[in-house]
Amino acid sequence: MSERRDEEATRTRRRWFLAILVPVATLVVLVGGWQLYVSLSGVAFYILPSPGRVFETLIADWGILGPALVATLTLTFEALALAVVGGVLLAVLMAQSRWAELALYPYAVILQVTPVVAIAPLLLVWVPSTQAALLILAWIVAFFPILTNTAQGLKSVDHGLLALFDLYGAGRWRTLIHLRIPNALPYFMTGLKIGGGLALIGAVVAELAAGSSGRGSGLAFRLIEANFRSNAPRAFAALVLLSLTGIAIFFATSLISWLVLRRWHESAALRER
């Protein structure tokens, strides 16, 4: 019994080890290849800086990039938080009332299919505060997957369970709390994972669209600014920070999802062999 358990633990550890080791090895090979190419080809640093140089710039320009990172992170998480609140509330409303669904859903779709870059200039004119405009733009991008996934989860409830709740006279409210919402959790988590990534993309697009009219403090703004000034190392450094942010968001949302679902949902549970 305990031998089994040890074996199981060893296998789990090995799986984790591989899951970390393999991507890291890929990264080392890619960065090494990049460094090697830059050294051998003698390409100018303002065209393609070496990884070493990018890293140096990251340290040297931290005074500019650090606050930019904070600004972009703030925008991203504010947009994501509002997307979660808005998406979930709207989904619940739509699941509870057919009228609300008929009235609102088409406009949610329209909002989603209209390219945010196209709305940006208008919003920047209409909304007095640029910061608020950026937030709205990032929110538009992030909230839709959360809305649709959650709505789907609230609706796709097992009919047998619905009959059971009917039988015991549960009513709308208790059915929502004890049946629909737990049922929607895995769907919501999928929406959160997608929405988290999109919130960052939305923030970047919003910053790019706002351009010089913003306070110009976000990472994306720093990136195009550096590009205009042919400061490739700083542009790369900003890009690296954006990627790291995206990766961090992905891992954070995946971790949350796993923590919430691991006890019962097939997607999160380890398969027994």
Partner: protein, 269 residues
């Protein structure tokens, strides 16, 4: 044990708990699922509905449970205190129909929770019910950690927790293997003898209905009707020996013949 040996005459002599009178059901799709179905279910009786797929067995249970309304005829609750459908009906579906996010304990507790009863107040009741179905050791387990037979036991426990006056079972063990199924059939009978709820049990197995019930209603399809009403005289408790007895064989033969006749009538049309 003496009180358990109930002859069928007593069963027929029981006052009805519920009476169906000329019940018909037509769905919005135009399908006529039931036509002119009339029968009584005696209080404390074990009645099986036996019939081929699509003859309206599930529909009858749903109508009795109040999950759907008949489009003709009516359902009278003659055996309840106020003449209304009792609040404590247990329903066991063909699938376990458990909430995957809830533990076995919470799944069984669900009907009480929906009535607003708190967790600590019902702990003993839930554990006692789990003990009755032999699952007290699995209270903290999640459905995905259980076998098919264990899930059905949880489903049964959830139906029993309300101390039902009436237990409606829709092919509850049909998806299980033969061994597990007869084991659960035996356990169900033992519980029924001890607790005396009224049972309406849907099955498409002649053998299962002959083993379990006091009375078998054989149905025919399109539209669903009652084709035969067979009394099973054998006394309870029915042990393994009953499954090989001449009485059991006679009931199986009679039910099979009724089923065949119903199907032949259907084919001839």
């Amino acid at each position: 044990m003496a009180e358990a040996a109930r002859p069928v005459a007593a069963a027929e002599g029981r006052a009805p708990l519920v009476s169906l009178r000329g019940v018909g059901k037509r769905f919005a799709t135009g399908t006529e699922a039931l036509r002119d179905v009339s029968f009584d279910v005696g209080a404390g009786a074990f009645v099986s509905l036996l019939g081929p797929s699509g003859c309206g067995k599930s529909t009858i249970l749903r109508l009795i449970a109040g999950l759907a309304e008949p489009s003709a005829g009516d359902i009278r609750w003659t055996g309840t205190a106020n003449g209304a459908r009792p609040a404590d009906i247990g329903f066991v579906f063909q699938e376990p129909t458990l909430m995957p996010w809830a533990t076995v304990f919470d799944n069984v507790r669900l009907p009480l929770r929906l009535r607003g009863e708190g967790k600590s107040a019902v702990r003993d009741r839930v554990m006692a019910t789990l003990r009755r179905v032999g699952l007290e050791a699995f209270a903290a387990a999640y459905p995905r950690e259980l076998s098919g037979g264990m899930k059905m036991r949880v489903s049964l426990a959830r139906a029993l927790i309300v101390e039902p006056q009436l237990l409606l079972m829709d092919e509850p063990f049909a998806a299980l293997d033969e061994i597990t199924r007869s084991r659960l059939d035996e356990d169900l009978l033992a519980l029924w003898q001890a607790e005396r709820w009224t049972v309406v049990f849907v099955t498409h197995s002649v053998f299962e209905s002959a083993y379990l019930s006091e009375r078998i209603l054989v149905m025919m399809p399109r539209p669903g009707r009652i084709a035969a009403d067979i009394a099973v005289g054998a006394p309870y408790p029915r042990d393994a020996a009953y499954r090989t007895s001449p009485a059991y064989n006679a009931v199986c033969r009679e039910a099979s013949a009724a089923l065949d006749a119903a199907m032949a009538g259907e084919l001839a049309r």
